[in-house]
């Protein structure tokens, strides 16, 4: 029984893998958890940029890099607008407001 359960969950995971590859897996095949994007980081916390969503339009990708969202940069979430969006982030010595729509494309890891 245990074995059957395990293989069933395996099948499900493979299926979901195939279905969501476009959204949840980066080009390198590394799993990108949806919890780990900048828009999900709580206000007040600091995280480190891991990468920018490789699927993103190349010009916007480059723009986020030019704004300082380069891999390895620490980012602190400073505050949110009264209705929750946009939010102000502090990085590279300055502060910038982004809508969740853009922050969603910045993959981060916890500051260790």
């Amino acid at each position: 029984m245990n074995h059957a359960k395990a293989s069933l969950s395996h099948v499900i995971s493979v299926l979901s893998h195939t279905q969501t590859q476009g959204r949840f897996f980066s080009r390198t095949g590394r799993r990108v958890d949806s919890r780990d994007t900048l828009d999900r980081v709580e206000t007040g916390r600091t995280s480190i940029v891991q990468e920018i969503d490789p699927q993103l339009d190349p010009t916007i990708h480059q723009r986020l890099l030019d704004l300082g969202f380069t891999p390895g940069t620490p980012i602190q979430v400073l505050r949110a607008a009264p209705l929750g969006d946009p939010r102000i982030y502090r990085l590279a010595g300055y502060e910038v407001a982004l809508r969740a729509q853009q922050a969603r494309h910045i993959v981060v890891r916890e500051d260790s």
Partner: protein, 646 residues
């Protein structure tokens, strides 16, 4: 550029005018424009880059014994252009548009970790360059550090530390510009590859013993209140209230004085000029026209003072941040709010304020919407029409009905502007990529006096020059149309006019004037709304500026009864058709007129500015067309509705 005018042996680095050209390039908020203004003083000329909605700022300054041209390029974070103003920077750097002789790269010393990548990409263009580091005083205050001469050695170009606007830094930059021939250039160009660029940035910063600044404590403390969900919103509304109060209350006494002055001047001219028609022409058309426009100068100047202060202090970015969610509902971003806010005074500064929008599509959508915001020129028209419609003491509950209707008109303007913006962005979004929204939130600063003065000088000057010419010409034409052809006494006698009465004679001239023919010619268009040729003259003449409508109706009414023009207006009767003998200004006609003025683009100055800002006649034509159709339809609906109810 042809070189045939150049003398033999002249270097190609000298332009035709024989002056060197330097372009200032840098990130937004880097203090670049402040520096540009400090360098060029009041010599700044604002124009447009050919074919695009991008303002071109040119200035001059004396260095050593020669004069050089300075060009303030639009601020940009990237050389991968996503908006027309960024494309201008790329074009200038790559020499598409005639490359400058040298460039002055302006970087905020507190954000070097971000901006060195930008510097690297600029340097790869191989144009002689120097680097100006701004806000070095802020860097020091916030515990940061940089060794400018070490940075200069690491980069291979000259580095000038400056605190924005301070004389010493400006003089040093001028001295460096004078030594243009001996500028050093990098031995090896910075790398292009992203990973190598990160390594290059790190090594340059460590060579210059760069210590990034601590977060600005003063800014953090102020933002804890001004961006607080409750207090921040409250302060925002207080700031907006103060903004409108200043525009209307503080400007009003100054406006009155201008009016009094021009009335006095007109009377003097009328008395001094003995040729009757010439005196009337000078006092009514020339002075009346110029005065009618200059009345709005205090409002415009104050508006720009306040915008420059809000911008210079850093609050404007916060206001845009607070309003972003609301503007997003119309498909716009926070910054468009600033433009719509300015349009309450006048659509012209509102349209000029769209230059701060990075996206050309947002800019167009805002430009299409801004003329719908209730501007100060609509106010006299609304006051007259509402006055004809409602008694001064009529009340609805605790509210004065006149005030309620006026408030409703302001609300109608704001709501319809947002609707138009929403439609325009939806239409344009179908083509092209979606631009990301990002906005730097700069540290708070005390606004620089020089920046405020420059902003007011440039915009007030532009207002007086461009608008006066348009309005003056139209008022002159209108006056001629209303008063010509002149009739001889014999002709009037033959027509049975009582030639002993001044009133009857001027009424005859008016009824048979060119203007009357124009009013009658457009009658088929406006007849369904209940307008006759007398109202039509008002509408046609208000194309020059909306407030001319009031003046025209005044002239028409005065021609019928010079002693009591207001009573004459109320007593005007429909001249023919089934309603003959009924009052001309019936509730349905007034409702139609209110709607018409709320929506129609009855303002040639706005059309002119739209032409200037978009670089083509296409957008002003679209704006005029769509607004006319909406205005006619809304007027027709309002008139029909009122006729049903009454």
């Amino acid at each position: 550029m042809s070189s045939s005018h150049c003398e033999p042996g002249t270097s190609t680095q000298i332009t035709l005018a024989g002056k060197r050209r330097f372009a200032l390039i840098g990130n937004p908020n880097s203090g670049k424009s402040t520096l540009f203004n400090a360098l060029s003083g009041l010599s700044v000329k604002t124009g447009n880059y050919p074919g695009v909605t991008v303002a071109k700022h040119l200035g001059q300054t004396r260095v050593g014994d020669s004069t050089v041209i300075l060009e303030d390029l639009p601020g940009t974070y990237s050389l991968d252009a996503i908006s027309p103003d960024e494309q201008v920077v790329v074009d200038v750097l790559s020499g598409v548009d005639e490359a400058p002789d040298g460039i002055i790269i302006v970087l905020d010393s507190t954000t070097l970790q971000r901006s060195l990548g930008f510097l690297a990409r600029v340097l790869r263009h191989n144009i002689p360059a120097i680097l100006v580091l701004t806000f070095t005083d802020d860097l020091q205050r916030r515990g940061g550090h940089i060794d400018a001469s070490a940075l200069s050695r690491a980069l291979g170009i000259r580095v000038i530390p400056a605190t924005s606007g301070e004389r010493q830094g400006v003089n040093k930059i001028k001295a460096t510009l004078a030594e243009f021939g001996s500028w050093e250039s990098p031995v090896i160009a910075p790398p292009a590859d992203a990973a190598q660029l990160t390594a290059w940035t790190e090594s340059v910063l460590s060579t210059a013993s760069y210590q990034p600044p601590e977060p600005d404590r003063r800014t953090a403390k102020i933002d804890a209140v001004l961006l607080h969900p409750v207090w921040g919103t409250l302060v925002f509304f207080i700031v907006m209230f103060a903004f409108f109060q200043t525009i209307f209350a503080v400007a009003a006494p100054m406006q009155e004085q201008i009016e009094v002055f021009f009335a006095w001047l007109g009377a003097k001219a009328d008395a001094a000029i003995t040729i009757g028609w010439l005196g009337a022409f000078v006092s009514e058309a020339l002075l009346g026209g110029v005065g009618g426009v200059l009345v709005f100068l205090p409002q415009i100047a104050l508006l720009f003072v306040m915008i420059a202060i809000l911008e210079g202090s850093g609050y404007m970015a916060r206001a845009a941040f607070l309003m972003d969610r609301v503007m997003a509902k119309a498909g716009l971003e926070g910054r468009a709010f600033v433009s719509l806010l300015s349009s309450v005074a006048c659509a012209i500064p509102g349209i000029m304020a769209t230059r701060s929008l990075p996206s050309a599509k947002d800019r167009l959508a805002t430009m299409m919407a801004a003329p719908l915001i209730t501007c100060s020129a609509r106010l006299p028209v609304y006051v007259l029409l509402i006055g004809l419609l409602v008694d001064p003491d009529e009340r609805f509950g605790p509210f004065n009905v006149r005030g309620l209707i006026l408030f409703g008109m302001y609300l109608l303007g704001a709501v319809s502007a947002m609707l138009v913006a929403a439609i325009a962005t939806r239409l344009s979004r179908r083509s092209g990529a979606l631009l990301p929204f990002y906005m730097e939130i700069p540290p708070y600063q005390v606004p620089k006096l020089q920046a405020v003065v420059s902003a007011v000088w440039a915009s007030a000057g532009a207002f007086v020059r461009k608008v006066t010419s348009i309005i003056m010409v139209t008022t002159i034409v209108l006056w001629l149309l209303l008063n010509f052809p002149q009739r001889s006494l014999a002709e009037m006698d033959a027509a049975g006019v009582d030639t002993s009465s001044e009133t009857a004679m001027s009424a005859y001239v008016l009824d048979n004037s060119y203007a009357a023919s124009v009013g009658k010619a457009v009658e088929p268009v406006f007849a369904p709304l209940g307008f006759d040729w007398r109202i039509n003259i008002g509408i046609v003449s208000s194309l020059a500026a909306r407030e001319v409508f009031v003046a025209t109706l005044g002239q028409v009414a005065a021609a019928e009864n010079p002693d009591e023009p207001l009573t004459a207006l109320q007593d005007m009767k429909v001249l023919n058709g089934p309603d003959k003998g009924d009052p001309l200004f019936s509730p349905s006609v007034i409702a139609a007129l209110l709607m018409f003025f709320a929506f129609a683009l009855q303002c040639m100055s706005t059309v002119g500015v739209l032409r200037r800002e978009t670089g083509s006649w296409r957008w002003p034509a679209i704006a005029f067309g769509y607004m006319f159709v909406v205005a006619w339809t809304m007027a027709f609906l309002a008139a029909s509705l009122v006729r049903l109810v009454t």
